[in-house]
Amino acid sequence: MDFFVLMLVIPLVSGALLTVVGERDWAPNLNIIASLGTFLAAAGLTVEIVANGPRFAFGEQFFIDSLNVFFVALTAFVGLSTSIFSGPYMKNEREHGKLSAPRLRLYKSMFQLFMFTMLVALTTNNLGILWVAMEAATLTTVLLVSLYRTPASLEAAWKYFILCGVGIAQALFGTILLYFAAERVLGETGNALLWTHLVEVKGQLEPTIMVLSFIFLLVGYGTKVGLAPLHNWLPDAHAEGPTPVSAVLSGLLLNVALYAILRCKVLADGAIPGGFAGNLMMGFGLLTLVVAAFFLSRQKDIKRMFAYSSIEHMGLITFAFGMGGAVANFAGLLHMTMHSLTKSAIFFAVGHAAQKTGTQVMEDIRGLIRINPLIGWGLMLGTLAILGMPPFGVFASEFMILTHAMKHHPWATPILLLALGVAFAAIFGKVQPMVFGETHAKRLPHAPAITPVFVHLAIVLMLGLYIPPYLTRWFHEAARMLG
Amino acid sequence: MNLPWGPGGEFARREAAMSISGLLWQLLAIVLALALAPLLTGWVNQCRAWLQNRSAPPLLQPYYMLHKLFLKDVVLAHGASPLFRFAPFAVFGCMLLACAIIPTLSTDLPLAPTADTIALVGVLGLARIFISLAAMDVGTSFGTLGGRREMLIGFLAEPALLMVIFTTALISQSTSVATIVETLAHRDFIIYPSLAFAGIAFTFVSFAENARVPVDNPATHLELTMIHEAMILEYSGRHLALIEWAASLKLYAYSCLGLALFFPWGIAAGSSVLGLLMAIPVLLVKLVIGGFLLAGIETINAKVRIFRAPEFLGTAFLLAVLGLLVRLMLETRV
């Protein structure tokens, strides 16, 4: 069987299966096995694409090239480690009486369906299906965010649904306009939403329509990326949902939404002269970065704080892609990878830490290093990594973005440095006393899964020191595709 | 826009209508207005009574009333100025003029060139000013209150009415009612969505202007709510008769304007005798239906508080603006 088909079928089937058997004792294992299968299929697909070049699937409806296969591999990997992490985490939540068996079943099946929608969104060639998959991803995660059914989690989920619903509606309008522009060139053949067809005629698309279309698409999908000023849902959803959900929201959903913007940017760049799309993205990126950096210092809830950190990094990445060019795109892709891995590792560590101490309020979390040195170090190292300390990979990508900005857009450099500095001070100043310091917390009934944290951090560290040549080639090719 | 006084404009074109027969037909239209206006009021009252399961007053009740009032002596308040005595005649004159220039039978009558819609709004506004001033003239609290309320309504209703008129004027490229009617009635049938908006807005405005139910209630003298009735409390005898008659004429004028703008079919284009004779029954039928609908709407609606009246008229204004926008968006290009 085809790796691609396998990769889509496994999460779909296991998601359906878990709605039935999700309450059994072995269900977490099934969740892990399904995620492992998805990951292996994605890895096989990656090898295939690297060896044979881009390919189609199901006629021309799906398209895998070096750009999206990279996201596919990343998504499947983070999905796998999250499922490993969530096994003991969710059992502990169950023991604490925060979740009932039916909710656990809901969680597992929705998690798999969420992976399915993410993978469909990444691999589809049809921009309409991309929209449908993004909306479906919202729907699956709304129920995950409100899993605890507390007033706060319901409020967060409601905000998430309404804001993302509004955002995604803007994206649909953008898609309609894009289709309208494309139909004038491609005719009513039904191919006018296929990205591969669009990219061939992108120079002929009507600029007037494309300007409006790209604005709507950027604002729409940008809502899901967490771009200011429509970022309000993100901290709430991250803070009030279960930690594995925070990890996949931050590590995957934001990436996929950004991927959607990148695909549209390629078209917009081809149609609109003068780098309009890039400038718009740079503006939104900078705004987001600054807003997030200044909100960081006001946070009291640990997951909220790291959610703002995600917004900050998304702003930085958007800015990088906005600058465009081989180096900035390379840096942007690298930073997306680094952020995904690091942020999910941090959320794993934070999840365990919050579970240990029974609170998410940072002032009440103290002395993690004494409760569990592994969690303590995991959180500390993860924080250092996300703050861009060398030798972690985030440093490499941030450094590239900064130098590129200095060279081509010097006016932006002080803003970038200021925002990164403020973020550094805010996060480090709060994490340090949490890791070190006095405590009196109890043992957890189920030993936490620490492995994913360190595997992620190890990869980030490795990529900071040494990027394997095939990965460099791959990034370069993807960066070239983005223009 | 075609200026009425330009070469080939309406004045030049309509010179032909200034004949003896044209004058006669114009006279007929005026007499018809004078005669039909109280009848329309009576008909609406009768319909209202039926719809509310009351026994209806006779159809000719308004005539009896006018007759009775004309026979009675006038009682003037102390301190009433000449304005107070002059106002009923001015109001009546304004309304009669309005009725005369709105094309009821034909678009080709001697007064038709003066039938500019903006002027029409001005004539109606003049009547409003006179009646409000007269109401405040005597210095009673009710009169002042009614006058102020009337001005409030007018201040909100006039812009809405103007917007409605602009929408129709945009379609026909002229502010002359005669040209508008000709454009709408005697061309190929085209659906104008903007006219739907304008029509609804016009209905709102007419209800407010004629002191009908959602804004005012013509049947009560409840001091907290009345507007029109509060203004004319001090009038008696032939003054009151003239004002009542003018009120009927106003209803008639608004009905005819609405019919002319939104249901113009049946109004004769030329001055052929047959066309004009046909126009009379058509007008009657339209008025009968319109009056019934008016009574129906009044029955199913409750009177709103006076403070909600601005909202009611604001909605009318917004609808009219929407009509204008829709006109610009949907109908200006091919």
Binding site: R149 | L325, E331
Partner: protein
């Protein structure tokens, strides 16, 4: 002048205007049940507009689209919403954050913005219905306004669905509809979304004893 416009285009323009009018009526509406009925009417107008477009252009997938709209937006969703309102005993009054005349004024401004934005684009369109693109955008923005200014969860949902109506109108007017597979996907998403929201309403009411989202303002940055 518009005299050369074919009758089908005139009809579509008429229905589009009705949709806009209904969007305004929804903005001004104070009662929840009437609001839902207005939404159903809006769906019906959308369905008729799509149907006219289908008949005049002979595109079969527009018939399906019209059918989908009829089933989903005129019958199924209003029915679900009616049931929800009755089951949840929602108070009939809709409370607005800003008073209604002010909202309407903002609405008019939004319509002007939408028309201005859409004008250059609709001039490029070759479909007979291109003028409605501005109306579609206006409906989207008005629905957005309704979601911002209303406090009941259920009104926000109606606003969301009304926004979807505007988007469908845009798709029909600019391009004679999206490819069928996309429309089906969108319809499915909307349906699933409303069902999830239905579940959600019960959870919200259990937690807050009300569907007023004023209770849901505790998550703040401080």
């Amino acid at each position: 002048m518009s005299a050369t416009m074919p009758i089908s285009a005139q009809l579509i323009n008429l229905f589009a205007s009705v949709i806009l009018l209904l969007a305004f009526a929804m903005l001004a509406q104070r009662r929840v049940l009437t609001l839902i009925n207005l939404f159903a009417l809006q769906g019906l107008a959308l369905c008729l507009a799509t149907l006219v477009a289908a008949v005049s252009t002979g595109q079969t997938h527009l018939y399906y689209s019209a059918g989908l709209t009829l089933v989903l937006k005129v019958l199924l969703l209003p029915w679900i919403l009616h049931r929800l309102v009755r089951k949840l005993n929602v108070k009939s009054e809709v409370e607005a954050l800003i008073n209604i005349p002010a909202t309407m004024l903002v609405g008019i401004v939004l319509v002007m913005v939408a028309f201005n934005v859409a004008l250059p684009i609709s001039e490029l369109s070759q479909t007979i219905t291109r003028g409605t693109l501005g109306i579609a955008l206006a409906v989207v923005l008005l629905a957005f306004l309704m979601m911002i200014t209303r406090q009941k969860a259920i009104t926000q949902v109606v606003g969301f669905l009304s926004m979807e109506n505007g988007l469908f109108l845009a798709a029909t007017s600019a391009t004679y509809g999206m490819p069928m597979v996309v429309e089906l996907g969108i319809a499915l998403d909307v349906l699933v979304g409303v069902i999830i929201l239905g579940v959600f309403f019960f959870q919200i009411r259990d937690q807050f004893d009300s569907l007023d989202i004023r209770h849901m303002e505790n998550l703040k940055d401080n």
